[in-house]
C-alpha cells in the first residue's frame, strides 16, 4: 500500500511538472536536447538522397560541433563523398543574437581557397539534399510563435507559426516532442494553403554517453516524392575539441584538417 502511494505521488509530481511547464520551457529543452548535447560533439554522417524514381546520391561527411556561451555554435563539416566534394570543408558560425548573420565558409582544396558564402536563405537545400540549412543547425527559436497544441501520454505537440511569414515557404509547422527525452520526433510542415508537404522524422534514437541522440532521421518532400535519409555513426560527446578548429577568422584548420575528421 505504501509503495502504491509513493508511486502515485511520483506520478502526480511528474505530471505536475509536465503541467506546469510552459511552452517556452518545452521548446527550449527540446532545442537543447536536439542541438546542444554535450560541450562539443562529433559524428560521421551518411546522407542518402533518394528521388521519386528511387535513384540515389550519397554524401558522406564528418561533423564536428562546439557550443559557445549565449547559444552560439560552431560547426566543422569535412566531406568524404562524393568524389567531387572530397576534402571540401564547410564551416558555420551560428549566431543566435538578434539581427546577426551566421558566418558560412566553404574551403575548396583544389584551389586552396577559403570562400565566404553569402548569408542568404536558410531554407535552401543543404548540399542538394531535402534537408535545409536550418534543419542542420537549428531554427532560431525567436523566429516563431510557439503554442502547445496537444499533450499526449508520451509527447507534446507544439504548433509553430513564423513571425515573418514572407521569409519562409511554410505557413506553420508542428513538432512532436518526446516527454521523456525532449527530443523532437516528428516535424510536419504545412504550406500556405494549409496542406502538409514536408516531414522531418527522427526514426532511430539511442542514448550515447547519457545523451539521447538521433542516429537516423528522414526528411520527406511530399511534393516531389523525394526523401533524404541521414544516418549518424561514431558519435562522441565531450571530446575536448580544440576551439581553433572552428575559428572562422583563421584558416589553419582548413589547410590542415584535424585528425578528428580525417581519421
Amino acid at each position: 500500500m505504501k509503495k502504491w502511494i509513493t508511486a502515485l505521488t511520483a506520478v502526480a509530481v511528474v505530471s505536475g511538472v509536465y503541467a506546469e511547464m510552459s511552452v517556452d520551457e518545452i521548446v527550449n529543452k527540446a532545442n537543447q536536447a536536439s542541438y546542444y548535447a554535450g560541450k562539443d560533439g562529433k559524428a560521421d554522417v551518411e546522407m542518402k538522397i533518394i528521388d521519386k524514381s528511387g535513384s540515389e546520391r550519397t554524401r558522406e561527411f564528418t561533423l564536428l560541433r562546439m557550443n559557445f556561451e549565449g547559444g552560439d555554435q560552431k560547426f566543422y563539416v569535412y566531406f568524404k563523398k562524393p568524389a567531387d566534394l572530397y576534402k571540401q570543408i564547410f564551416r558555420v558560425w551560428k549566431k543566435v543574437g538578434e539581427g546577426e548573420n551566421d558566418v558560412r565558409q566553404m574551403f575548396l582544396p583544389a584551389l586552396n581557397l577559403n570562400r565566404e558564402i553569402a548569408p542568404g536563405d536558410k531554407r535552401t537545400s543543404f548540399v542538394g539534399s531535402d534537408f535545409v540549412y536550418e534543419d542542420v543547425s537549428g531554427r532560431n527559436l525567436n523566429d516563431d510563435v510557439h503554442e502547445l497544441a496537444e499533450t499526449t501520454d508520451t509527447q507534446y505537440v507544439i504548433k509553430n507559426t513564423p513571425k515573418d511569414p514572407g521569409s519562409v515557404e511554410f505557413s506553420h509547422y508542428t513538432i512532436r516532442i518526446d516527454k521523456e527525452t525532449f527530443l523532437p520526433r516528428k516535424a510536419e510542415y504545412f504550406d500556405k494553403n494549409g496542406k502538409l508537404y514536408r516531414t522531418v522524422e527522427a526514426t532511430k534514437v539511442e542514448t550515447i554517453q547519457g545523451y539521447p541522440t538521433v542516429i537516423e532521421s528522414v526528411v520527406s518532400d511530399l511534393n516531389t516524392g523525394g526523401k533524404t535519409v541521414n544516418t549518424f555513426s561514431n558519435i562522441q560527446y565531450d571530446i575536448g575539441l580544440n576551439e581553433q578548429i572552428f575559428d572562422t577568422t583563421n584558416e589553419r584548420s582548413l589547410r590542415r584538417p584535424p585528425r578528428e575528421v580525417t581519421r
Binding site: 568524389a83 572530397y86 583544389a110 542568404g120
Partner: protein, 441 residues
C-alpha cells in the same frame, strides 16, 4: 621496380633529369600510396575529357581550342606528425606541340604535377608546407591584386575547369599563429611565373607587330630560373578587425608575365607589391575591398622597357538575390603612374600612342549563379566589362551532375572589343565553346 618503362621517351625532355626525377618520385609516391595498405592513405581522382572549338576563324591559331583527356590522381597520406600530398595529371592533349616533352614549370607534356608536398607542425604555433603546392589569397573573384601566385591564363581562357586557373608553386609555405593574428609566408627559391599567353594556343596583341599575333609570333621569354637568386617572397598578415577580416600583403619578386622587353626579347622585370584588404558581411551580403601598389623595381632605358608602377583597387559585393540565385558585382581599377612617361617611351618604340594603354583602366564584373534540380544543375555567367577599354569577356558555364560520379559541363568564353589592343579585345579571335565530361572517383 623500374619506373622508367612507364615513362616513354622522357629522356628526350629538355629539363631532364630534374623533370624525370620529379615524375618518378611522384609516380612512386602515387603507386606506393595506393598499394600500401599499412599507410593511412586515400586515393581519389578523376578522368576528364574536353573538346572545344573557336566560334570564329583565328588567322594564327587552330580551329580547335581544346582536345584533351586527363587522368588526375590525388593521394593523401596521414602520419601522426603530418600529411603527405601527391596530385598529378596525366594528359593526352591532341593539340600539344610535343606531348612527350614534359615541362613541369609551364605544364607542357603528358604529365602536370599539381602537388607534391609535406605538411607538418614543427612547433605548436606554426604549420609548414614544403614542396609543390597551390597557393591562394586575396579577396577578389577572378581578379587578383595581392595574390601574385602563378596563374594559368591559357587554361582559363580556353575553358578548362576553373581549378586550372591556379598553377602550382614550388615553395616553402609557413604559417605562424601568434595571438595578434596569422602570418603566412611563402618562399619560392626559383620564380614560379604565370603560364602566360604566349601565342601558342591563344592569340594576343603583339605591340612589336602592332597587331594581333599567335603562332606566328610565339613569346618565349627567358625564365627566371636561378636557384635562390630568382626567388619570390610573399607574405600576408591577417586578423579580425571589428567583425571583418583585415589583411596586409607584401610581395618581392617579378611581374608574373613577361611584360618587360630588352635586347633578348620579353622578360620578367623585378617588382615589389604592397597591399591591404578587408572583407566581411554588410547588410544581407558580403563585401570586400582590396588595394595594392605594384612597385616596378627596374628603370626603362634605351635598351629595355619595363612597366611603370601601378595602383590597383578592387571592391565587391555578393548576396543571394532570390532562392538559389546569387549575384556578385565588382569594380576594379588599374591606375598607371607616370602615364606621360609611358606614352613617350611607347611612342619612341612603336611610333604611335594610339594603341598605348590608358592611364586608368576601369573594369566591372558581374557573377550570376543559379542552382536548380537539387543543386545538380548549375547555371553561371561571369561577365567582365571595361567601360574605358570598351571590351568585355563573357563566361557562361552550365554544369550538370548526372550522378555521384558523372558530371557534364558546357561552357563558353566570348571576347568582344572595339579595339585589337585592349585587355579583352585582343582575345577576340579566341572566343570558344567547350564540352566536357568528368568521371570522379
Amino acid at each position: 621496380m623500374d619506373f622508367k618503362k612507364y615513362i616513354p621517351n622522357i629522356s628526350s625532355c629538355s629539363l631532364c633529369p630534374s623533370a624525370e626525377r620529379v615524375v618518378q618520385i611522384s609516380l612512386m609516391s602515387l603507386l606506393a600510396a595506393s598499394a600500401t595498405y599499412a599507410l593511412d592513405t586515400e586515393l581519389h581522382g578523376f578522368v576528364d575529357g574536353r573538346g572545344g572549338y573557336r566560334t570564329q576563324n583565328d588567322p594564327y591559331e587552330d580551329e580547335r581550342s581544346l582536345s584533351e583527356l586527363r587522368l588526375q590522381l590525388d593521394s593523401k597520406t596521414y602520419f601522426d606528425w603530418g600529411e603527405f600530398s601527391a596530385r598529378g595529371d596525366f594528359v593526352y592533349d591532341d593539340l600539344a606541340d610535343d606531348i612527350e616533352k614534359v615541362d613541369l614549370e609551364n605544364g607542357d607534356g603528358f604529365f602536370d604535377l599539381r602537388e607534391l608536398n609535406l605538411l607538418f607542425t614543427p612547433v605548436d604555433w606554426s604549420d609548414v608546407k614544403i614542396g609543390r603546392q597551390i597557393l591562394t589569397w586575396g579577396t577578389g573573384d577572378l581578379i587578383f591584386i595581392n595574390d601574385l601566385f602563378p596563374k594559368d591564363w591559357n587554361s582559363f581562357l580556353l575553358g578548362r575547369d576553373e581549378e586550372y586557373l591556379k598553377a602550382p608553386s614550388d615553395a616553402l609555405f609557413a604559417s605562424f599563429f601568434p595571438s595578434i593574428g596569422t602570418i603566412d609566408v611563402a618562399y619560392s627559391p626559383r620564380m614560379d611565373a604565370d603560364r602566360y599567353v604566349d601565342g601558342r594556343r591563344v592569340s594576343y596583341w603583339n605591340p612589336m607587330q602592332q597587331s594581333i599575333a599567335g603562332q606566328n609570333a610565339v613569346i618565349d621569354a627567358e625564365r627566371r630560373d636561378e636557384w635562390f637568386k630568382d626567388y619570390e617572397m610573399s607574405a600576408r598578415f591577417y586578423r579580425p578587425v571589428l567583425s571583418w577580416e583585415g589583411a596586409l600583403y607584401f610581395y618581392n619578386g617579378f611581374w608574373k608575365s613577361p611584360v618587360g622587353g630588352n635586347a633578348n626579347g620579353a622578360y620578367f622585370p623585378r617588382m615589389n607589391a604592397y597591399g591591404a584588404s578587408a572583407k566581411g558581411s554588410a547588410g544581407k551580403g558580403l563585401a570586400n575591398v582590396e588595394i595594392g601598389y605594384y612597385d616596378s623595381r627596374e628603370e626603362s632605358g634605351p635598351t629595355q622597357f619595363v612597366p611603370n608602377d601601378e595602383f590597383r583597387f578592387l571592391t565587391g559585393y555578393e548576396r543571394e538575390v532570390a532562392k538559389n540565385l546569387t549575384a556578385g558585382v565588382q569594380y576594379y581599377l588599374e591606375w598607371m603612374m607616370d602615364h606621360d612617361g609611358y606614352e613617350q617611351e611607347y611612342n619612341a618604340m612603336y611610333g604611335t600612342t594610339a594603341t598605348a594603354r590608358d592611364e586608368f583602366r576601369h573594369l566591372l564584373t558581374l557573377r550570376l549563379t543559379k542552382m536548380l534540380m537539387n543543386q545538380n544543375l548549375t547555371l553561371s555567367l561571369f561577365t567582365f566589362y571595361s567601360p574605358s577599354d570598351n571590351d568585355a569577356y563573357f563566361r557562361p558555364i552550365i554544369t550538370y551532375k548526372i550522378s555521384d560520379h558523372w558530371k557534364v559541363t558546357a561552357n563558353g568564353n566570348f571576347f568582344v572589343g572595339e579595339s585589337d589592343y585592349t585587355f579583352f579585345g585582343q582575345f577576340k579571335y579566341n572566343s570558344n565553346v567547350n564540352l566536357g565530361v568528368r568521371y570522379s572517383f
